[in-house]
Symmetry: C2
Subunit: 595 residues, 2 copies
């Protein structure tokens, strides 16, 4: 297995030098305690935990997988112990509400922790990840009694949570959901139905599992407007917060998957399981989306985590593996061959991984910080702006970072050559694990539709302006600095294409929604690459300022990656623009039966 | 598992309508028997065999994998029986020399058969595939006695063959090979060393396995010029062609891999195994390359096969799966939702798979036919031209078709959504199986270096002209036909970029070979997309001629795919051109220790 070293220096660069995370503790009272020394201590501890506890279980967890036996799921060897340590360390409560026992730390910090967990062991990360989504939904939509009952246990990690959405006949289209709720006299409901693909639906890590379930009330209108959200615990809680009688909810089987094999993926049967309505009747979808948006960003962090792990593995191998001589003449004549990192095509792969990973980290952490601002900034105007920006960029972060995670994992395999294909080297697992991130929490195609069909149009382009305005202003200011020209000029070109494409979409998509659908995926990628270019400009600016000082090599590397990005990656935006503005005609011409 | 239907109509379109394969039987005496009715009968039989015998074993073979026990490898259930039927049907000898019992049919036909085998069961295809490579090498470089001894058994398929190149310390760089040969008094040698990643190195399908092994003679110069080729059978053949004493060659273990799990991948130990020199001393590399070039095209066909299988699976699912309504209004109001094929983004994925698969088939089959011409055309000039063209396009076919195979498999998974990630649906297996094709027989990065570093320069651009001239002429003629403009114009633009890039490479790469290395991968893709555009022009021309006649829908679909290709895929060439001509600077700036 490739070793993993938590990239703390990279993370601190984004937190303090790019995002000025210390302003959170200075200007947002809720985060007054999140000073840099506190943050640093947390990140260091998290890094150690990921390196020493989680990463060593990644390969063995993949090889062993979860075991299903008569309704019970056993996680692979070592997972139970690692989870116990995770709970002991207080990690589940890191970003949670202090009113329920949480540490109330910024989500930004949790993003960094999530990245590291996913680099080390994506399967493990699924369990607390789902719990956190579940926590968020109950926190936002549960009544006081529900919050008091469930949140403290989710915060400690004694109990875990799930999100039960998918059914055999519905994934993307939850309006087709058939699971139904029958009212009991005491105000509770009984659920009947089958949910599939339920991550962490059953396992041996916690004493109780709290399912959040989409289902229909008896009087529910058809379709998406008739879905309600229910909380349905595996064991009914006792009055004192203990674990009572077993509820009529059971795991029918687990899925055999391509990857994340140590994460249990369950069929969950509700056979009259007792459940309670969360939020208002028929408003389950919007409640679910509260959770989903955070979850989508979290899946983006999974992509980032995999990309970082793949890069680290590939770099180590590329420095070690001796094969052929540099075409510019032997670099290590005393060795039987040169390390493959001398070859331009190997560097192309490594730099692609690196330049996209670093800018992806910048973009996603920025969203993490905006989430915190949206939640707790004293200025309502500032909160609203942050909320808009996060809403706009959530699909971009989810789709682009997971596509990149998968691509980076594949580049990692390619750098390893034949050894990349062999399981014991650990690189192919990253590919298999990463592949699901492009699918779940809304496929990346759905993310693109969310961006063009929902986010762009909101408030007559208000969301888009939250991004376009600062970028526009930045380009104007920065282009006056000669040293920045080499970064700002290509970024300005890409940004112009993005603006043109946005205008094209507004017009064409308004007239014909199929045009928006036809353009969506290419548009999202154009958007993402432009956003990353903006990130690279800002990172390069910092690096230019610190050139020649302490850590000169660190900042030189930033400039090198920025230059590579501008020259060899950003030009993709040109093709994307041409492709998407070509319109829907060639996609829609062929009748379905001719496929 | 997705069902597989041999795409015989598509194959016939390429063979007869595009390539005029009947000219082979008319103008090349060696192929006089390969008339269209003979070819059709063979393809139909092959299609049935793949559909009924091989495809049903694909998923079970993946789940079960090969078993290793004390030096013996057992293939998954059903493989032995399927291989026996394969032998019984005479398939191994299809393209082989009649002097050794082969059927002497065109390689073109074998390409089509290989495509179908790889769609149905890539793992199975590995066994006869390796044997065929082994056959080719012995046929080209063995002496008469060796040919008489081994070829008839390889032709019937009673014996199988391997290619033993890789060692732990050398894959791409075979000059580092350490396996050594000690001379015996009788003219034979004893081999000592360990080879890894040996496909079909040990198995239970045949009574004997013939290893071709790269090793060093005692007086060998260091490096790549000191490698010789040896033939080393598992069992020493008896004088009457039977199986004699066990040789000192043994399988030490098998690899656990990401995919092609039913193909055995072995560590093979040579502990003084008796072997015989094939060809001249120290000339093993060039002998190996004879085989390697055919093998690289065959790997390209594996990519094509996977892409076709993924497309078929995805289309079936996209027509069946009901989810959401068309944004243009419900298409099937009587159903609970519309099939997902109504959605533009799903069509984008399907059309990308299809447009690249069909043009890839055209390009690779064209090379198959040129191989036949190179081998047996009466006109030596024509043979030389064909040989050049195949040499030029072999790395393009290998790299592009395998990249496409992998991408198509991933698009297939994406169309399936969550179900694509579940093993029982069979789509994720295609991803895992396809992944190796980008690596073995020379990674795709090595293919790109072969193209820019070797093929472009050969004969002062003679090879390149074999492709550029006919394309140039075609564009000139075709652009006079108004109906073809929509295809020829974008192709001409891409071709101009390719020519410019080639000129740039010739100049920059001459001055600095690292420039060629830095541009190679993007250049190969630019080359491939331009070649596919040329194929689409020619296919569209045929389709235009037959519009409105019989099979109108078939030809309309060709035009639709061609239009999609031009509008939504070919523009990638613009970005590739910009990226590759950006030069090596940003790739080489970062010192190795800064990675």
């Amino acid at each position: 297995m490739p070793a993993y070293k938590a990239p703390l220096r990279e993370i601190r660069f984004i937190l303090y030098e790019l995002l000025k995370a210390e302003t959170l503790s200075n200007t947002v009272p809720a985060y007054a305690d999140a000073t840099p020394d506190v943050i640093d201590a947390i990140l260091e501890e998290a890094g150690k935990f990921c390196e020493n506890e989680l990463q060593p279980l990644n390969h063995s967890g993949d090889e062993e997988g979860c075991h299903f036996d008569n309704g019970a799921v056993t996680t692979p060897k070592g997972f139970k112990e690692a989870y116990a340590k995770f709970v002991e360390g207080g990690w589940p409560g890191l970003p949670c509400d202090p009113d329920y026992g949480g540490q109330g730390l910024p989500k930004l910090i949790n993003f960094a922790v999530e990245e590291m967990i996913c680099s080390a062991n994506l399967s493990f990360g699924m369990y607390p990840g789902l719990s956190n989504g579940n926590y968020n939904a109950i926190h936002a939509h549960g009544d006081e009694a529900q919050k008091a009952l469930y949140l403290p246990k989710l915060v400690t990690g004694e109990w875990s949570g799930t999100m039960c959405l998918t059914e055999p006949q519905c994934g993307t289209d939850l309006g087709l959901c058939k699971t139904r709720a029958e009212a009991n006299a005491d105000g509770s409901y009984n659920l009947f139905g089958t949910k599939i693909f339920i991550s962490a639906g059953e396992h041996d890590l916690t004493e109780n599992i709290i399912h959040l379930v989409l289902a229909r009330l008896p009087d529910a209108p058809a379709g998406i407007r008739g879905i309600s959200l229910f909380v349905c615990p595996k064991f009914l809680p006792t009055a004192d917060g203990g674990v009572g009688a077993r509820n009529k909810v059971a795991c029918g089987s687990t899925e055999k998957k391509m990857g994340i094999k140590a994460s249990s993926t369950c069929v969950i049967n509700f056979d009259g399981a007792q459940a309670w309505l969360v939020g208002r009747p028929h408003k389950g979808m919007s409640a679910m989306f509260t959770m989903m948006n955070t979850a989508r960003l979290a899946v983006g962090m999974q992509g980032l985590g995999i990309a970082e792990a793949a890069y680290q593995g590939a770099v180590t191998y590329a420095k070690d593996r001796l094969q052929m001589r540099s075409v510019a003449g032997a670099k290590f004549p005393e060795k039987p061959a040169d390390p493959i990192i001398v070859h331009p095509d190997v560097r192309r792969m490594l730099l692609k991984m690196r330049a996209l990973t670093e800018a992806s980290r910048a973009l996603s952490y920025w969203m993490g910080m905006e989430l915190d601002i949206a939640a707790h900034h004293p200025d309502p105007e500032r909160r609203a702006a942050a909320d808009d920006l996060v809403a706009l960029l959530t699909p971009v972060v989810k789709a682009f970072l997971t596509d990149h995670g998968f691509d980076a994992a594949n580049l990692g395999v390619q750098v390893f050559g034949g050894h990349g294909y062999i399981r014991e080297w650990g690189m192919e697992q990253l590919v298999r694990d990463a592949r699901i991130t492009q699918i779940y929490e809304g496929t990346n195609g759905i993310q693109a539709l969310d961006l063009v069909g929902r986010k762009l149009g909101t408030g007559v382009g208000r969301l888009a302006r939250r991004f376009f305005h600062p970028v526009s202003e930045y380009i104007e200011t920065a282009s006056e600095k000669p040293a920045l020209q080499e970064f700002v000029l290509p970024t300005a070109k890409a940004f112009a294409k993005l603006q043109q494409a946005t205008a094209w979409l507004a017009q064409a998509g308004m007239a014909d929604p199929e045009e928006a659908g036809a353009a969506a995926t290419d548009y999202l990628r154009l958007f993402a690459l432009t956003a990353l270019a903006y990130m690279w400009c800002r990172m390069a600016e910092i690096a230019l300022d610190k050139q020649g000082g302490e850590e000169a090599a660190f900042y030189e590397a930033k400039l090198a990656a920025a230059r590579f990005f501008m020259a060899r990656l950003l030009p993709e935006t040109n093709s994307l623009f041409t492709m998407l503005t070509a319109g829907k005609a060639t996609l829609m011409a062929l009748p379905a039966e001719a496929f």
